[in-house]
Point group: C2
Chain length 357, copies 2
Amino acid sequence: MDKWDTGLERAGRFLVTMSELAQSLNLSTSTVSRALTRPEMVAPETLERVLAAVKANGYRLNGIAQSLRTRKTKSVGLIVSDIMNPFYSAIVRAVEGVAASNGYSVIVCNADENAEKEDEALWVLAERQVAGIIHAATGANLETLRALRGRGIAIVCFDRISGLEDTDAALVDNVEGARAATRHLLALGHRLVATIAGPDRLTTGRDRLRGFRDILEEEGLVVDEAYIERGDFRRESAYAAATRLLSLPVPPTALFVANNEMLIGALDAIRERGVTIPSELSIVSFDDVPWAGYVEPPLTVVAQPTEQIGRTAAELLFRRLEGDDAPKTVVLMPVLRERGSTAPPGADAREEVMRRD
Amino acid sequence: MDKWDTGLERAGRFLVTMSELAQSLNLSTSTVSRALTRPEMVAPETLERVLAAVKANGYRLNGIAQSLRTRKTKSVGLIVSDIMNPFYSAIVRAVEGVAASNGYSVIVCNADENAEKEDEALWVLAERQVAGIIHAATGANLETLRALRGRGIAIVCFDRISGLEDTDAALVDNVEGARAATRHLLALGHRLVATIAGPDRLTTGRDRLRGFRDILEEEGLVVDEAYIERGDFRRESAYAAATRLLSLPVPPTALFVANNEMLIGALDAIRERGVTIPSELSIVSFDDVPWAGYVEPPLTVVAQPTEQIGRTAAELLFRRLEGDDAPKTVVLMPVLRERGSTAPPGADAREEVMRRD
């Protein structure tokens, strides 16, 4: 191949397509191809026009595309739900570790718990030629997921189930985690137990609420719906929810918050109202945070095996890329970490509202 | 054009190049092109071979590339130094805001404070056709930065200066921030003042140490080099550094830590040795953290205008993309936030080591 050929092919995949160039010139693609690969076969004025268009349209014949080709960096995409949540930062690190050992780079997009942003991120990554995508699903965009997978991009979800058929997933047992948190509160003697749950459209939202309800029902306690608030896994929603809970005629003596960002919002509301943890209110949240041990009192949490979730998701993806197509879901176990934010209820706990049947 | 043509050109830029296909078949590129664009012009067995290779090599003739073409998502790249540091998460959010209002997506890479990973991230983003790159420079990779810029990719640095000529930068005044922190400690009466500085190769590392030294010298205090530790902006390095400082024959009564991640490492060491903040040791760090107010005692910090840094960096980038090539550096001011972790030194402060000249 002569230098034109080399340059064209390399540039072609990096900048504009040959057919775009041909269309702009009102020539057939094969004429353009010939002009660039075997210029001697094309009329001189046609060759001139093609070369002029190449320049005008941003083709680089010996430029960036060439140096890029020799590098051949391979990448996988990772879509997180909330870049501000340290859970996802830890996932990024874990995925990067596995990717690096497979010779891949990771490029990250933030969906911000927003279905439209997720859809855009999926397409952005697909266009950027990632071999596969790991994502914390918003629960929407099934069609896009199917389209990308149908076109050879491996898809793995983590944290939540996307609903995509036959996909791989790295999850934690959210029901069991919520059960452990709730069981812990009841074991301390609490009966006025409230929760700030996540959104119903997410498996993490639904399952953590289900675990909470399960234990109360198993213990024969009637669940007062006023004690069940729903947030969106962001701080502000939990601030509002906690404010409502603390304003109830009979406020709860214990609170299970369904994720770490909502915990911060709840803590703001609790502090603002001057409620003391744990003597007036015990609090346990789903998901540990790097600073849980530095807070006074240190926070009792249901810790997720975050590093393991990220690593598992990446391993599932690379298994797919190596040709293993059998769908696989790995469910990891969260673990209760008792610290100082939970304690038996104070003497003034009013137990009449949530009572044994 | 017939469907083959359309499919080939579009698929060609998405999956493998036509020349790769041709090489694998030991055919000329123009033969492959002809087989796909004008199949009637090619011998039937050649056509068969080409079509088989197309399938085997992952070409999609009517597939993803086609739908991608119509979407034309535009993107900018963002390289952060440490995805675990909430400072960078906040930067991602701010850059995304500006990018979205310009119709761009953001794809993020993590350099992990590592020059090699930064170099890889720069090339990965360039290959993924980003219009520009915003990065927190490791201080290396000048050649790569020049190469990418020479090829039309706009480059903006934030947080640290990359050293790239005529580039744009969104920075904070690190010297002034460190001066404010150190001035605060001296004003409280401390004379045994130590620091855990960042790495010398980063402007943030150098400038924050310079501000610390400046104030001590301006106040006529001799700086004991044993009180000056250097970390790498990660927790572990600061844990080790704080352990050394607390083991000195005459330990410091006040400590300035040069970033938020190192603060956590220092807090671990301080807690482990049972040192009480602030009565035995005052501590102030550069950079606020979302949880600084939840810790007991709440942490005194030099807060950066993080959102504004990210927004400024993005605005500088889009200004470049709109054709304004005049290099511009914006320096923003950090601000001291006094909380509970700094107080006058305890009665037993030994002032003989760091003394007035």
